[in-house]
Amino acid sequence: MEQLYQQVILDHSKARSGEGELDSPHGASFQVNPTCGDECTVQVSLEGQRLAQLAWSGKGCSISQASLSLMYEMVDGEPLEQAEQLGETFRELIHNRGHELTPEKMELLEDLSAFTGVGRYSARVKCALLGWMALREALAQARHHTGASGQPPQTQA
């Protein structure tokens, strides 16, 4: 159990960062986990090629809430490409059935590496990725609205 619920996950699920709403986001996405009704909304606004602001709201289990909270801390204010790359690496980790990725990728993930164990529980994969699905969609929308160039990296479900 302690492997799944790493301290950093428990901490972030209680003291969450980045909850709120933006006044005029460039992109927003609402996602729901139909098996349990968990939901989240992620809003983003861009400045050129930078994810200038991110805010999220939602309700869900500790895994989904901690994932959103950490996502905020790691991508808010960062270059778009970096945020999207992080999202893809995180997806890869969660789909890796509980095994770590290469040391370089684990380093990139920083605290998100605490989610490694989630991949062992197929029922929880969606929980960990819910916020990141919203982020991906919100960013695609924002790129479209702002005309920010560049393509998001290759994606996997």
């Binding site: 159990m1 799944l4 619920y5 428990l10 098996t35 349990c36 009704g37 968990d38 309700k59 869900g60 289990c61 500790s62 895994i63 809430q65 529980y121 029922a123 929880r124 929980c127």
Partner: protein, 418 residues
């Protein structure tokens, strides 16, 4: 005190271990029950000895298969207090409920001739459901309302999680259908059927009962209850998946237009049109789930041998133990009646500050299987101001030891997330 029933040994799956060697504590019977060896054996024996297409073929095995199929219908009918011709096989209860709602829809579109006119719905008519329903007995009625222009109304739920029988005035002269659950799969509350049926009858509305939870856990006599239609499923009552049944009063099934059409349900087919067989065949299009009906036959035989009164008494005791155990865990909020009277051993609850997924995960780590989520009943969760809940539900095989393990596990959950 020893348990009234000690039947876990009949259920092969219950002897397995989970999560690295932990004995399984199965408290998710409300979602699907485990199956006794008798049911598994019956299906296998049918497939090994008697498998053939039913109602066709002049060979001996086809006759045997048809005999097995129809004798299963007979056994299931007797089990729920219905006549042979009043039971229609469906793949599950959801299909059974859709069969009724689509029968009404097809009648509303003019199908079924003069006989079916009694099922016509139009703008100005109303369909009454309840806030307690499983989505299977809600969404088909929403769809029927949207397609016919009828209005959907609903009976609310009391703070205790029962149908609010003070609010039966929702059923009016405009009401054509009243669809309601016999026992909630969330609050466990058993509905007092008589007042609902009486009120519906007084305004000439048809009644449709979701008997999925009840048929498996208490004696049910559909003729006594006086409902017009009822649905239940095999897999919730120790039988196989892939088989369920619709009960319909004979006179109504005679008049109801078919839902699924195609092979096996027709008399004369020309390029222009088709005449349909009488019920129940009219509603059994395509190749049927024969082995599953044989399994369901074995399931109702098993339940009858145990005795539904004894089973209900045993499960009532398990329900009491669950409720007492839950009350000891600090902060936990029960969604449903606090006493085991007029209630099934289906115990849904909220652990404030801990999401049901997390509750279920920590229980699972101890080998305890419960349901988490909205249990296909979002409106009643909304009624209680929660998104989702954790649910422990007992069955014929549940033991005091299972309940003790669950209560201990729940204390562990609260400690873990404190």
């Amino acid at each position: 005190m020893t348990d009234l029933l000690d039947l876990a040994g009949d259920f092969p799956l219950l002897s397995r271990t989970v999560r690295e060697g932990k004995p399984l504590v199965y408290l998710d019977t409300g979602a699907t029950s485990q199956k006794p060896g008798q049911v598994l054996d019956a299906e296998r024996a049918f497939n090994e000895r008697h498998n053939a297409a039913v109602h066709r073929g002049a060979h001996q095995i086809a006759e045997e298969a048809t005999e097995a199929f129809e004798s299963a219908r007979s056994a299931v009918a007797a089990f729920v207090g219905a006549d042979f011709g009043e039971i229609v096989w469906t793949k599950n209860a959801t299909e059974a409920l859709n069969l009724v709602s689509h029968g009404f829809l097809n009648a509303s579109l003019g199908r079924g001739g003069a006989d079916a006119a009694r099922f016509k719905l139009a703008p100005g008519d109303e369909i009454v459901v309840t806030e307690l329903e499983h989505h299977a007995n809600l969404v088909p009625w929403q769809e029927l309302a949207a397609k016919t222009g009828a209005k959907l109304r609903w009976i609310p739920v009391t703070p205790e999680g029962r149908l609010d029988l003070e609010q039966l005035s929702v059923i009016t002269d405009r009401t054509r259908v009243v669809a309601f659950t016999h026992a909630s799969n969330v609050t466990g509350a058993v509905t007092e059927v008589a007042p609902v049926v009486e009120r519906a009858k007084s305004v000439g509305a048809y009644t449709v009962l979701d008997a999925c939870q009840s048929a498996a856990h208490m004696p049910v006599d559909l003729h006594d209850l006086g409902v017009d239609f009822a649905a239940f499923s095999g897999h919730k009552m120790l039988g196989p998946t892939g088989v369920g049944a619709l009960y319909g009063r004979e006179e109504l099934l005679q008049a109801l237009p078919p839902f699924l059409t195609g092979g096996s349900m027709v008399e004369v087919v020309t390029m222009e049109e088709t005449t349909f067989m009488p019920p129940p065949q009219r509603f059994e299009a395509g190749t049927q789930m024969v082995a599953q009906t044989v399994g369901m036959h074995a399931a109702v035989d098993y339940l009858s041998a145990v005795g539904m009164e004894r089973l209900a008494a045993h499960e009532d005791h398990m329900g009491q133990l669950l409720l007492e155990g839950l009350a000891e865990v600090p902060g936990v909020r029960l969604l449903g009646p606090t006493s085991s009277a007029q209630r099934l051993a289906v115990i849904a609850f909220d652990v404030p500050g801990v999401h049901p997924h997390d509750v279920g995960q920590v229980l699972d780590d101890q080998g305890i299987a419960v349901r988490v989520g909205h249990h296909c009943a979002q409106p009643v969760h909304r009624r209680f101001g929660v998104h989702a809940s954790t649910r422990a539900s007992a069955g014929v095989y549940t033991t005091t030891a299972d309940v003790e393990a669950f209560v201990k596990g729940l204390h562990q959950v609260v400690k873990f997330f404190a």
